[in-house]
Amino acid sequence: MAVESRQLPPTLADGQSKRLLIKRVKGAVRSVLIHAGLIPAAFIFLLPFMWMLSTSLKPDVQFYSYPPVLIPSPLQWSNFPDAVTYITFFLYMRNTLTIAVLATVGVLLSSSLVAYSLARIPWAGRHILFILTLATLMLPFQVTMIPLFIVFKNFGWVNSWLPLIVPHWFGGALYIFLLRQFFMTIPMELSEAARIDGASEFKIYYSILLPLSKPALATVAIFEFIARWRDYIGPLIYLSDQELYTLSLGIYEYQSQYGAEWGLLMAASVMITLPIILLFFFLQKIFVQGIALTGIKG
């Protein structure tokens, strides 16, 4: 009896563990297969950046060496200090930063006000305004590009940063949409209670809505900052004075009729890309939520 009862549980456990083992093996095989798909993909996605980094640390003679050298030896760190003196790198960086920061501040202020109007104030025209806002997302930028250039030329704004900053102070359609969606999720009762207490709309916007919307506002700020940091066509159209150039335009100066200074060019590319990658690493959650939010209406 005693022996049997001692033997029974082990057999039971044996059957269980067998099933568990099969399940575990199945799971392991599955995850190995998945990683077998994901790892090569990751390698391919990383390739441009790895090669950029690798080239930025290479002496000239190794650029086209075969077989390719991923980790150069010795590491030519001098490409980095050389890159920032070969062109006026820090001037371009300061220009880019100035434009990006001013545009971001403007777009945050204006878009949040407009989104507040669309989401939180019941007035007759807001639906039409919202539809018009969405409609602009469908409009190719080429349609407005030429008349805007003419307008800014008549203002005397061409070859200045104004065309790259001022329009952002009047709201961005995508951000208005994003913030509106977010504002809608905040209970209306909060506003109504504040209105009964005699709070003005601006007060409600400023001291209730904005503090509750920090994640959405952060998303907008990051998206806009990165968009301006990477912007190519705006500076291309409007800036002709070298002193006003942003990094996107200045980086061309590593190329000459004799070919490109690949080592310096890649060192500069690394320096341009790194701040954005760091931003992404630290604020990954906000990014992912923000992108998911743009697809909400789907």
């Binding site: 998945i34 993909a41 950046f49 349609v143 008349p147 190519y232």
Partner: protein
């Protein structure tokens, strides 16, 4: 002075709540109302007008009727090249982007280790400034000696000519565009995480295997994301500009095979100062975009599944 302030205050108190909301609504929206008029509606109308004129941006536009449109379709070979390249790019790259982004998101969604690391890596190329990305690609895709040639050299071959010959330049650009699907992967992943588990459980009870579950549960639930991806990528593909422009300086080299619609439009406007002609191109693009988008929108009722029941 003092009395007007008092009466204003009194009137304000007497305003109905509806009126007050209208005033506040307009006030808060005023930056964008101005922005819409100044940066969207006026330029759109002005562009329509310019498209019927000969205009160099300096002297007054001269009305030429539909001459720009006629010229585009009858005697401009470069325009037709640009249309062909752009349509080719859209038709080939969009389905591939959907398949790859969806596929990678599916694999990421399996509860695996290091999901965040993979997601970050896939997202990386979308963060690299286009200038840097385009130039790295030119460097990597240097025929015979770039990094891309290495595997071909291992087999003693010289490999394709990539961006330097017409027959390879188009597919190469499609290939390059597939690198920038990080945002879409995140969208699909978000969509996949929203699929209710009980649907899978119900399918399990019915004895469904992996593929039937995929076709009958996963895909239908994700159709709104595919729809969103489709609409935005059509617009994106038709506007494809920076990368090929940076690579070639807008020359369309080789043999106009990288001359995309937006590049040709930009050149007309800012290199040749044919602002009227470029505006006609812009309006054709607008109409075409609208037509394709509406078509996709209309088709949505046949294939897009909304879990909420109605749209």
């Amino acid at each position: 002075m003092a009395t007007t302030v008092v009466t204003e205050g009194l009137q304000r108190r007497r305003l109905s709540q509806g009126t007050r909301h209208t005033i506040n609504g307009l006030l808060f929206a005023s930056p964008w109302i101005f922005g819409l008029l100044a940066f969207w509606i006026y330029p759109t109308l002005a562009s329509a007008y310019y498209s019927f004129t000969k205009y160099n941006g300096v002297r007054d536009p001269v009305w030429t009727g539909i001459a720009n449109y006629v010229e585009l379709f009858t005697s401009d070979g470069e325009f037709l090249d640009a249309v062909y390249n752009t349509v080719y790019f859209a038709v080939v790259s969009i389905p591939l982007a959907i398949i790859f982004a969806f596929g990678l998101a599916l694999m990421l969604n399996a509860k695996i280790r290091a999901q965040v690391v993979y997601r970050t890596i896939y997202f990386l190329p979308t963060l690299v400034p286009e200038v840097a990305l385009a130039l790295v690609w030119v460097f990597i895709f240097t025929p015979h000696s770039g990094l891309i040639a290495a595997p071909f050299r291992a087999f003693g071959s010289r490999g394709p000519c990539w961006l330097t010959c017409a027959e390879w330049a188009r597919p190469t650009l499609v290939l390059l565009a597939l690198w920038i699907i990080g945002q879409q992967i995140i969208l699909y992943l978000a969509g996949l995480q929203d699929v209710p588990q009980d649907l899978y459980d119900a399918a399990d009870v019915d004895g469904a295997n992996f593929f039937t579950k995929f076709l009958n549960v996963t895909v239908p639930i994700l159709t709104p994301v595919i729809f969103f991806h489709l609409v935005t990528s059509v617009i994106g593909a038709l506007n494809f500009f920076a990368i090929p422009y940076i690579m070639t300086g807008g020359t369309g080299f080789p043999a106009n095979s990288t001359l995309f619609y937006s590049i040709y439009l930009y050149k007309n406007a800012f290199h040749y100062l044919e602002m009227g002609y470029a505006s006609a191109m812009a309006w054709l693009l607008f109409m075409f975009t609208l037509f394709v988008t509406l078509f996709i929108w209309r088709s949505a009722r046949w294939w897009v599944f909304y879990a909420g029941g109605e749209e």
